[in-house]
Each structure stands twice: as structure tokens, then as C-alpha cells.
């Protein structure tokens, strides 16, 4: 395969940004500027170079972080360095919403206009910016590139920022939220809570500089002893010594004594179910990987957390990163994985920084590397960052993303425990799932299983946002009622009258104000026809226009569909159109006709889609129709 690229060349900055990420080129074969006499005799490239395809996204991100967008010259250089055909790399670059192939100012503010922020003033922020600053940047590159000047390096006003709307930034506890990114030699990335349009304007003018750490405190609370949150806000998340002083790395020590099978026995006995949404038994997953004939195995911590309303993983990643590194090391030891990845959503800069720091500290202390804790167990961890794609939280889409491809889910079977990352057996676990491993190993699986109910063991993190007095993350034993949880979060805020709550995220369902007795376990929610999902509870007071909220959810799925399969690619659009027709009173066949149409679209998406995104894209709409009776006929 020959790589044919255009004549556009990288600027020195672009070359430098890519070389820092990939290392310098070895020869003119892979992009060095000068052709040496040696290059005329020795060729590089081929398979070895193509095996670096997995570095495509990091290399594109390097350009984005340095320049603020991906120019043709910079893009060409990445293709040359990694021997990736430009059409393929283009497919990848245009998949992720945080990458831009259009010129953009260096400073861009991403303003969340998703459901939790919507009810906390995001509309006013956007309106203010629209009126007093500029219209938002168009999203991504979906329309193509042809009218734009090609090859030109950014000539935009360096001092004038731009803004864009964003789906949930995972900061719903401090809504309305924003994320400021300023490209440059050292990229500036800051999460911002309680955003106002005045402050946003200040940021875009180049004045105000928000803190590195989110200053707005989130509430941490719970019922009973905190198992997963106990160190949050109490132990310095950047200090390995403090982590160890608070009991850190005791679990790994014990895991080495238990041996792989012993570890898996405890996790199985604890009846730990995955917290990422699918509730698959974690012990069984680990055992399946442990018993694979293939010896190269991977583990991935799914920290893509993009389900609207979810922010619990952010709290763990930023507040207790060593615990996650330790837990992943235990899982890897149990299943025989030699390499692990944290796939952290691109909108979580502090989380990525804290986890990277924890990995570096652990490595320096011999807790990662060729001889973990002086044993013969070798394990390495790498951080990979997402770039704005909810779908990259789906497990097989993460594989594709890490491999340097478009984040398109694979059809299952085959399952990840057999054919996962790089086609090798792979464990995929949610952040909260991993956090559960430490108390399970320390206290024993049986003790963990005694918490909660028979079928839903342990504690669970819930993310409360919207109209609650104290938004935050709450750890409660499974079996707590929704009402108790609401009380824990200080009760209903806003106008004080609850209209309904969204349970489980955009892929979850609405429950009515009179359903607060709902017991939060897998079995009870299933019986009630709802699901715990990722532990989301967004409360809405009686003043909220729920049709507007529902429309935002429909738009979310439409925007986030990867576009691979027809039921989801077109179905999410047809669903949004039908809701729009009802809202604008231009129905086909009356509201009744539209509801019947929505039902059929929903069934086809549920039954015919490749992955969970399409399969759940109708769930919230269905519950709004059937539980809330939002569209009476």
C-alpha cells in the first residue's frame, strides 16, 4: 500500500507537537525533513510502522492541543509518520467532536446545554453568549471541508475565543458547566462549574483564568459506612504516601497472598455486578479471561463516563486515583493481564492528570512495572483520552478507538473476554466496579455480599443533580429507596415540587413524583420496568417543560449515534423529527399517529441496532410517553 498525500506540509509547531507525542522520525521514510544518504539504502516502514496505528488518535490530539485544530499539513505529517492512508485518518479525525478539521481560535469554551445544566441556567448562559459575543461554532466537521481554505494555518484572532455547545460534561453537580480549552505549547484545559454568561465572556476575552482544580465543592455523602468514597476529600489524591497511610496497597498485598484464583473467588462471592450499566458479574468476566488459552491479555478501565447525568466516576478518578490503579493491578494479576489502559473521556482533564500522576508515582515505587511489589508479576498501565464521543464508552467501541480506528461498536459475539483489544482477551470494567474491588479483597467477599440485598449486593454510587438541594455523589447500600436518596440530597429544590426524575441516564427512564418508594436494586427496578443504569438521578421540579428535556435527550442520541447501523443512524433522526412535529403541532395522523410511529421506530431500534446506544435510544422517550403521560391523546 502506497500512502499518497497532498503537498501541504506541517508547520514547525505541528511537527514538534507530533514528534513529542510519537518520538522523532527515524528517517525520511516516516516523515523526517532531511533525506540522509542512509535513507537511500535502508527502508523503514511496513508492518512495524503500521503496528503503530494505535497512536493515530493521540497524534491527532497532539495537533488539536497545540494548534486548536488539525490543518492539512499537520494531518499529512501524522499520516506519514504512522503510515496511515489519509482517507482512513480522515474518517477518524471527523469522528470525534473535540477534534476540528476547520480553523478555530486557540481558546474554545464548551458550554454544556444538556439536561441537568438546562434546568440550572445553561440556556441563559448560551443566550448571553449569543447576544453579547458570537454564535456558537458549528459542531465538528460533519459537512465536509471543501469551502474552507486548505493548507492555511490558523489565521484567526488569537485573543478572541469561540464557544460551542456540548453534551453533558459530567459536571452536573456544579451545573451549569463549561470546559475551557486553550491550545498552545502547554495546553490549558479547565472544568468550570456554576458558569455565568458574564464569566464566560471574561474567559473568551482572554481575561479570567479558572483554577486548575474545580473550586466548587461537590457533595459527598451516603448512608452507612462509605466504602468507595471514604478517601474522597480526606486523603491527598496526589500523594502515594498519604494513600498508603490510609490503607492503600494493603489489598494488593493480600491479593498476592490469595493468588489469582483466590482473588476471583472473593470477587465472585461478593456478587459484584458491573457498575457501567450492563450489570454483568465481574468475577465471571475475570475468570473467563483468566482461563483463555491466549496469554496476551489486556484490561481496560472504562472511564469514558459520558452518560448524561453521570459524574460519579469523575469523583473517583480525581479524588482517589491510586485506588483505581491498585484495583486495576489486582484485576490484572487475577486474570493474567500484562497491560492496562485507562480510557478517560476527553472532557475530564483533571481526571487524566491525576490518574497519570498516580501511575507515575506507582511505577517509581515499584508498584507497577516488570516486578510489581518485588514479585514476578509484570504490569504496565497507560492513559488514553477520548476526544468527544459518547459511543466510545461502549466496550467494543473503546477497542476500536484505542486501536486508532473510528469508534464503531463491533457486533457481538465474539465477546471481549475472547476477542477484545487488538483481538486479545480483554477485561473491561467501569471505574466504580474497580473501586469495589479493594474493600472486597480487604474485608472478604462474604462481608461485601452481606451489604445490600440478595440479588444486588454492596453499595452503589448515585449521581444526584437537577432540582435537588445538595447535588452530589451519594453512596448507599443497594435497596435504598429513591425517596431516601432524594432526602439525603436535601430534597427537592427549584420551586419545591417534584415533577419527575430521570433514573439511569439518557438511556434510562423517567419515574413520576409518586414513585419515590421505588427500591433501588436490580431486581426491583427491573420489575418496575426501569433500570439503575449508571446511577443517575436528575430531578425536575414542576416548572420544567419536560417536552423540552425529552427533545434534548432525543437530540443527544441523534448526535451521538456512530452512524454505522441503519436503525440507529436513521431511527434516532426520525424519532427526533416526530417529537418535533408534536411540539410544533404539525403532526402526521395526530398525536396518536405520531406515538404509534415512535413506538415502531423504538422497537426497530431496540431490536435491530448493533449496540446499546441504539437499543436504548427509545427508552427515555417511551417512559415519558407511558409513565409520565407527557403526550395525552
Amino acid at each position: 500500500m502506497d500512502i499518497k498525500i497532498s503537498d501541504a506540509t506541517p508547520s514547525p509547531d505541528e511537527r514538534d507537537a507530533v514528534d513529542r507525542r510519537l518520538g522523532p522520525p527515524r528517517a525520511s521514510w516516516d516523515g523526517a525533513e532531511l533525506r540522509t544518504a542512509r535513507d537511500m539504502h535502508v527502508g523503514f516502514g511496513g508492518k512495524e510502522q503500521r503496528d503503530r496505528r494505535h497512536l493515530l488518535l493521540p497524534a491527532l490530539q497532539a495537533l488539536q492541543e497545540r494548534i486548536g485544530w488539525i490543518s492539512e499539513g499537520g494531518f499529512n505529517y501524522v499520516c506519514e509518520r504512522l503510515s496511515v492512508p489519509p482517507a482512513e485518518a480522515w474518517g477518524v479525525a471527523t469522528f470525534y467532536m473535540m477534534l476540528s478539521t476547520q480553523p478555530r481560535p486557540r481558546r474554545v469554551l464548551h458550554v454544556c446545554d444538556d439536561i441537568a445544566c438546562k434546568v440550572k441556567g445553561a440556556k441563559e448562559v448560551c443566550r448571553g453568549l449569543r447576544t453579547h459575543h458570537s454564535p456558537p461554532l458549528p459542531h465538528g466537521v460533519v459537512g465536509g471541508h471543501s469551502e474552507e481554505p486548505r493548507g492555511a494555518h490558523a489565521t484567526l484572532n488569537e485573543h478572541h475565543g469561540a464557544w460551542t455547545t456540548s453534551p453533558c460534561l459530567g459536571l452536573c453537580d456544579v451545573a451549569p458547566a463549561g470546559l475551557l480549552i486553550e491550545a498552545g505549547p502547554v495546553v490549558v484545559e479547565r472544568s468550570i462549574g456554576e458558569l455565568s454568561s458574564e464569566y464566560a465572556m471574561g474567559l473568551l476575552g482572554g481575561g479570567a483564568e479558572p483554577d486548575d482544580v474545580l473550586t466548587q465543592a461537590t457533595t459527598i455523602g451516603g448512608i452507612g459506612a462509605l466504602r468507595l468514597l471514604k478517601r474522597i476529600g480526606k486523603v491527598d489524591p496526589t500523594s502515594l504516601d498519604d494513600y498508603k497511610a490510609s490503607g492503600g496497597y494493603k489489598a494488593l498485598e493480600k491479593a498476592f497472598q490469595l493468588g489469582p484464583e483466590g482473588v476471583i473467588r472473593e470477587v465472585t462471592e461478593a456478587k459484584l455486578l458491573g457498575r457501567g450499566g450492563a450489570a454483568f458479574p465481574t468475577g465471571r468476566k475475570w475468570e473467563a479471561v483468566r482461563t483463555q488459552p491466549e496469554k496476551t491479555r489486556y484490561i481496560i478501565c472504562n472511564a469514558d463516563e459520558s452518560e448524561p447525568g453521570t459524574f460519579k466516576d469523575r469523583i473517583l478518578l480525581t479524588g482517589d486515583p491510586f485506588a483505581l490503579v491498585e484495583a486495576m493491578t489486582i484485576a490484572a494479576f487475577a486474570a493474567g493481564c500484562s497491560r492496562g489502559y485507562f480510557y478517560i473521556r476527553g472532557e475530564y482533564p483533571l481526571a487524566a492528570k491525576r490518574v497519570q500522576h498516580a501511575i507515575d508515582m506507582a511505577r517509581a515505587a515499584g508498584l507497577l512495572g516488570p516486578t510489581v511489589m518485588g514479585t514476578s508479576f509484570a504490569f504496565e498501565i497507560e492513559v488514553r483520552r477520548g476526544a468527544g464521543a459518547y459511543i466510545c464508552g461502549e466496550e467494543t467501541a473503546i477497542f476500536e478507538s484505542i486501536e486508532g480506528k473510528r469508534g464503531e461498536p463491533r457486533n457481538k459475539p465474539p465477546f471481549p473476554v475472547q476477542h477484545g483489544l487488538f483481538n486479545k482477551p480483554t477485561i473491561m470494567n467501569n471505574v466504580e466496579t474497580l473501586a469495589n474491588v479493594l474493600p472486597i479483597i480487604i474485608d472478604g467477599g462474604a462481608a461485601a455480599a452481606r451489604i445490600g440485598t440478595e440479588q444486588s449486593a454492596g453499595t452503589r454510587l448515585f449521581c444526584l443533580s437537577g432540582h435537588v438541594a445538595k447535588p452530589g455523589v451519594y453512596e448507599v447500600p443497594m435497596g435504598t429507596t429513591l425517596g431516601e436518596l432524594m432526602t439525603l440530597a436535601g430534597g427537592v429544590s427549584g420551586n419545591g415540587t417534584l415533577q419527575c426524575a430521570l433514573l439511569g441516564g439518557a438511556a434510562g427512564s423517567f419515574v413520576r413524583a409518586d414513585e419515590m418508594g421505588l427500591i433501588l436494586t436490580h431486581e426491583d427496578t427491573r420489575a418496575a420496568g426501569v433500570s439503575l443504569g449508571s446511577g443517575v438521578v436528575v430531578a425536575f421540579d414542576s416548572s420544567v417543560d419536560m417536552k423540552d428535556i425529552l427533545h434534548r435527550i432525543a437530540k443527544f442520541f441523534r448526535d451521538e449515534s456512530c452512524g454505522q447501523c441503519v436503525p440507529c443512524r436513521v431511527g434516532t433522526v426520525r424519532q427526533e423529527e416526530a417529537l418535533h412535529r408534536i411540539a410544533t403541532k404539525k403532526t402526521i395522523g395526530g398525536v396518536k399517529g405520531e406515538l404509534a410511529l415512535l413506538e415502531e421506530i423504538g422497537l426497530a431500534m431496540k431490536d435491530g441496532s448493533i449496540c446499546g446506544l441504539g437499543q436504548t435510544a427509545y427508552a427515555a422517550v417511551e417512559s415519558a410517553i407511558k409513565r409520565l403521560n407527557l403526550y395525552p391523546v
Binding site: 500500500m1 502506497d2 500512502i3 497532498s6 492539512e72 494531518f75 492512508p85 489519509p86 482517507a87 482512513e88 480522515w90 474518517g91 471527523t94 478539521t101 465538528g140 460533519v142 459537512g143 465536509g144 471541508h145 471543501s146 464521543a389 467494543t396 477497542f399 486501536e403 480506528k405 473510528r406 464503531e408 463491533r410 457486533n411 459475539p413 465474539p414 476477542h419 483481538n423 448526535d559 451521538e560 449515534s561 456512530c562 452512524g563 454505522q564 447501523c565 441503519v566 436503525p567 443512524r569 436513521v570 431511527g571 433522526v573 426520525r574 423529527e577 412535529r581 402526521i588 410511529l597 415502531e600 422497537l603 426497530a604 431496540k606 431490536d607 435491530g608 441496532s609 448493533i610 437499543q615
Partner: protein, 313 residues
Amino acid sequence: MTSPHLQLVQLSRPATTPKVMVELSVDGHSVKVPEGSTILNACQQLGIEVPTLCWLETLKPVNVCRVCVVEVEGARVLVPSCSRTVEPGMKVKTRSDRVNLTRRLVLEMLASSVDLSTAPGMAEMLAEYDAKPERFGPDAETVAQPVKVDNDLYIRDYAKCVLCYKCVEACGEDHQNTFAIAVAGRGFHAHISTEFVVELPESACVYCGNCIAVCPTGALMSKREWELRQAGTWNESKQTATDTVCPFCGVGCTLTLHVQDGEIVKATSPLDNDITVGNLCIKGRFGWRHVQNGHASRGPSADPTAPRAPANH
């Protein structure tokens, strides 16, 4: 898409060594197929018709169109028959209410967003499933866009694209290894594109036309066919197809020449040909224009040795 695990899925070309047989039931009929076969293979063996769009026997299944879904007992959702391998004792239903509903909706979704007027067999398929695409209303979003005519050999009319990925597979991993085109964008805006949407003469395209050969909708079409269709004179019932051997090099690909009114209008190669599996190179695919040179309409750029000259338009 081109994930490694897909390579495990067997292509449906006949295996040479005898295989372990797997027994399953389809619509109540028991059938035995070699291990590694797909549900679609089993259906074909039984003569049960299953519609397909993104599947082709010469390409790795990508299972994206979902028109081939069937119901497998015990499965939570429907499964794509084109890629799911058979398991012993599987109970498959190909025309249950669930299957019919999803197939109908998939067809309605496609027909309401894509111009399917030149997709062979599509009208019959829509009728069979009683698909009514118009029920999504006159404002339903579509992929309508101008046709891309940027070279003299073939045109790309993405208003007719169902995003079946076949052309991408044919151009890349499965056949040509050229990777001139890929899927870009996301969601409803996902589309087939070159890098930076450059025109074909600027891209890596070598004009083998192997993408045209696999396109199920006529979105990719030789320029001559497109011109005749524009003029209203394309008439398949008046065409004859003659197999011959491509004279341009020693490989000797089987070439099927399609002739209308004494003029060669298209060249293809049979999918079931062991050597070509339907593929050709620029000379086989478009060299017939050279043979017929002198035709007033085409001028000097019809010379296949100079395909990269951008078209004037």
C-alpha cells in the same frame, strides 16, 4: 469495521476440506451446515430467502444495514444472519412479526432518506415488506446532495448511498488495498469520503472501479452508464453480456462486456470467478473505451492511461 475479529468469520466461498457439520433449525426446517457457516448460509441452503444489502459473498460481513436480521430463540435482540455463525441446536425464525417489523422499518428508514431509484431489486423488497417511507413526512431529513463528477471514468452520487461500507471494503482491506475512500463524519452525517473531501484525481484512487462493482444502489456508476441514464437511453433489456478475456496483460481476467446498440457500455467480471472475484483494474474496467475510441462524446481524456486528468465541468 475492519476489526480483526471479523477475520474469524468465514467467507462463504466453499471450504476445501470436509468440516464438522452443525445442525440447526430454520423456520422449523432442520438443516446441517459446515461449522463456521453463517445463519444466512443455512437459509440459502434451505432456499429461504433473506434480504441483504451490505453483505456480499466476496467481502467480509460488516453487518450494518440490518435488513437481514432474524430471530434466534433465547437472544435478547434480533441477530444479523449475514454474520452470525451457526451454533448447534439454534432455533431461527426468519419471518416472525419482530423480524418483519424491523426489516420494514429499516427499509422505510432507508427509502425515506436515500434515493433508491437505481438500486436493483429494491422496489420489490419495499413492496414485499409493505414499506411506506412516506409516513415519515415530507420534511424527513435525507442525504440528498449533488452528484460528484470529478473524473471521466466514474461518478459518485452519494444521494444514493445507503452506507453499506462495501466500496470501502473493496477499495481497502478486502480487495484493492488502496484505501482511497473511507467512512467519515458521524451519525446521520456519516458518509463516504476522501481525505479533506478532495476530488478523486487528487486522491489515492487508481480507478480500478472495484467499488462500482460492489455498490448495491448505483451510487457509484461508470460515467458512460450515468450519461446514458441521464439521456434516458440506458436500457438493460436491450443489453447483452459476453464473457471474454481481458487483453491488456498476462493475468487474463475474465471480462464481461455489456453491449447495447452495438456499443460496449460497461465491463464487469463475474463475482464467482476464482481469479478476479469480481475485481478488475483500470484497463479491464475502463479500457473498452479505448477500444471504442473515436466516439465523439468522449474526447482525449477517455484514454485510460491518463485517468488522473481532472474533468472539466
